[in-house]
């Protein structure tokens, strides 16, 4: 039986309205053969976790440029745990200082893509690190 396509949720947590990067990544992933669900802006951690559950996604890409990442990424992780979602790969991008990247990886984010990362690199990373569950 053929493996189903990998499903990726691209999400914008918090009040941040900068969606240029998230939309480009969503499109690049879609063009790269993945099923992509884009949440749109202004999502609460609860909304993101709920969508992840409903859409049965394999990975979540969180994009945040407003400086609120140290509150919002952990909150998303917590909301996923509360729904019993444990096998979703988390990655992220945006304006995240290097020391925060280290801390977020400790908390369970597999990779962070910061300014200068190419879409090819991100798509390839997803291809190698995310399997359908």
């Amino acid at each position: 039986m053929a493996e189903r396509r990998v499903r990726i949720l691209v999400a914008k947590p918090g009040l941040d309205g900068h969606d240029r990067g998230a939309k480009i990544i969503a499109r690049a992933l879609r063009d790269g053969g993945f099923e992509v669900i884009y949440t749109g802006l202004h999502q609460t951690p609860e909304m993101i976790a709920e969508t992840a559950l409903q859409e049965d996604v394999d990975a979540i890409g969180l994009s945040i440029l407003s400086g609120a990442h140290m509150a919002l990424f952990p909150a998303v992780i917590d909301q996923l745990k509360q729904r019993g979602i444990t096998d979703v790969v988390l990655f992220g991008g945006g304006i995240i200082p290097p020391e925060d990247v280290l801390e977020l990886k400790r908390l369970g984010v597999s990779e962070m893509f910061t300014p200068g990362a190419t879409t090819d690199a991100i798509v390839e990373w997803v291809r190698t690190h995310v399997r359908p569950h």
Partner: protein, 546 residues
């Protein structure tokens, strides 16, 4: 006798020796290897151009330009608490800045108080936290509001913030008709690019026009809208799209005000603009010149404006944030200097220069000082301020000006054919054009067709990071606590009456500004007023097009 350009290109231009397949601007506009009079057939100064300060203002809005007055040096600033930002304001004014520009945090910009669950992690991060009038008073403590012009970058909560500012001015004893400054209040571009909204386009437009009408009568020196292209460009648009969508937005506001019965000359002189200054030096200078020419023509021919000041496109400019790199951040000083110079040669009235550390944080004091000095060095040492529109008459600049004007006019016509800017926004037309341009640019970067020095070329092992500005998380707790205490200390009856008056005005057609001003004086908060808008005008949800 020299050949025609076409002959010269055919006979003498060594095309096989070109370094690249294409030579195009950052907006992907192909440019010529050289420009000659052949690129400007029939061009004559008297018909095609005009002196500075003469319709259609291609060469600048004032006859003497920077000999008469330098552009306002206006660094965008704001973080943490009102006290923190007040300190930064005083620092910048002390270092020679000539106008203030206020950045608010996301909760303030989106209509949430610091104690709201949606404000989690966001208080004081992207700008200063303002939940009620007391914060606004602290923010402008010791600032002579009658003498300094203040800009406030806020949009869907602009009515509330302007009401607070007017209340503070009153308490300072400054009459509203002395207040000079700007509130961004450009909702069309929010739906298109910056994406800070509460309610859908139509009711959002109503609030904007209320503020235009109120200010025309009560605060005639104040700019109630800053029609912006900066954010459109940051979202990934081309220079032509930036210009076209901005002017289309402007047309939308003018039309809405005229439809309400306002005489165009009663408000048009206080419309202001805000453009990006991106990397491509020639394209940007041409864009500013095309902007002035196109707007003047629109105002005179489409709207019949008579007052020359209604025809003048006066603009603030900011160097392109999206062009900065986290890698080798000192290089950003160079980028900003080139961009700032383009803005000045483009004839801007006001300028913000980005700081070198802004890819990772808000500007540190050291970094913003270099950015301010960049402007001061251009003003005092470069000599370009001695001459108005010094690049006017350059074949390249005139040809690019004409071309950008033509292409922007075509987009504006397209938007007219769609039924105007509100309809175009509902259809997603500008949003999709921008997303397409952004994707194309990213592909060019990924393929190395466009270069970002330090990112896809001339890469190094990065050295120790810069000292970045960090916003103390305790500010969020403190601000939330302050808001809670203030809410408890208020006169509940008066607060409820004030909010009811706002609700009634929102439901009807009365101008919202008077009840907003009365409400903020009772310490009604940004969140409480935004909740009324949510209730009465509805909540807009991101269509989430990819």
């Amino acid at each position: 006798m020299s050949k025609s350009k076409a002959e010269w290109l055919a006979a003498r231009y060594p095309r096989d020796a070109d370094r690249l397949e294409r030579f195009s601007t950052v907006s992907d506009m192909d440019v010529e290897p050289v420009y000659t009079p052949d690129d400007l057939p029939g061009w004559q100064y008297d018909r095609a151009l005009e002196h500075p300060g003469e319709y259609p203002y291609t060469r600048g809005v004032y006859p003497s330009m920077y000999r008469g007055r330098l552009w306002t040096m206006r660094q965008f600033a704001g973080f943490g608490s009102a006290r923190d930002t007040n300190e930064r304001f005083q620092f910048l004014l002390g270092q020679g800045q000539t106008g203030l520009s206020t950045a608010f945090d996301m909760p303030t910009l989106m209509g949430y108080d610091a104690d709201h669950p949606r404000a989690l992690g966001e208080v004081g991060r992207e700008g200063v936290a303002v939940s009620s009038l007391t914060d606004m008073e602290e923010l402008f403590s010791g600032i002579p509001l009658g003498d300094v012009t203040v800009s406030m970058t806020v949009n869907c909560t602009a009515g509330t913030l302007l009401a607070m500012y007017l209340a503070v001015a009153e308490r300072h004893g400054v009459a509203w008709n002395r207040l000079g400054g700007t509130i961004q209040n450009d909702m069309f571009k929010e739906f298109i690019a910056q994406k800070e909204w509460i309610s859908p386009p139509q009711p959002s437009l109503r609030v904007v026009v209320d503020m235009m009408e109120f200010c025309a009568a009560e605060a005639p020196r104040w700019h109630p809208v800053s029609i912006s292209g900066y954010h459109i460009r940051e979202a990934g648009s081309t220079a032509v799209q930036e210009l076209a969508f901005t002017l289309a937005d402007g047309i939308g506001y003018v039309q809405a005000a005229v439809d309400r019965g306002l005489d165009v000359d009663s408000f048009a002189p206080r419309l202001s603009f805000f453009f990006n200054v991106h990397n491509d030096f020639l394209e940007e200078i041409a864009k500013f010149r095309a902007a002035r020419r196109l707007w003047a023509t629109i105002m005179r021919e489409r709207f019949g404006a008579k007052n020359p000041r209604s025809l003048m496109l006066r603009t603030h400019a900011q160097t392109a944030g999206c062009s900065l790199t986290a890698q080798q951040p000192l290089n950003n000083v160079v980028r900003v200097a080139i961009q700032a110079l383009a803005g000045v040669l483009g004839g801007t009235q006001s300028l913000h220069t980005n700081s070198m550390d802004e890819t990772l944080a808000l500007p540190s004091e050291q970094a913003v000082l270099v950015a301010l000095r960049t402007q001061q060095i251009i003003a005092e040492e470069s000599g370009v301020t001695n001459v108005a529109d010094p690049l006017g008459g350059s074949y390249a600049i005139e040809a690019l000006t004409d071309r950008i004007e033509r292409e922007a006019a075509a987009y504006i016509k397209k938007i007219d054919e769609l039924g105007g800017i509100v309809r175009a926004i509902e259809l997603g037309f500008p949003q999709k054009e921008i997303a397409e341009a952004a994707y194309r640019y990213q592909q060019q970067l990924d393929r190395g067709e466009k270069v970002m020095v330090g990112v896809n070329k001339y890469i190094v092992d990065e050295g120790p990071p810069l000292e970045l500005l960090r916003v103390d998380p305790k500010i969020e707790r403190e601000q939330a606590e302050r808001v809670r205490r203030r809410k408890q200390a208020r006169n509940t009856t008066r607060v409820q009456a004030a909010l009811t008056a706002v609700r009634e005005a929102a439901r009807g057609t009365a101008n919202l500004m008077p009840p907003l001003i009365a409400a903020v004086k009772e310490e009604c908060t940004v969140g409480e007023i935004a909740d009324i808008f949510r209730e009465v005008f509805g909540v807009y949800r991101d269509p989430a097009w990819i």
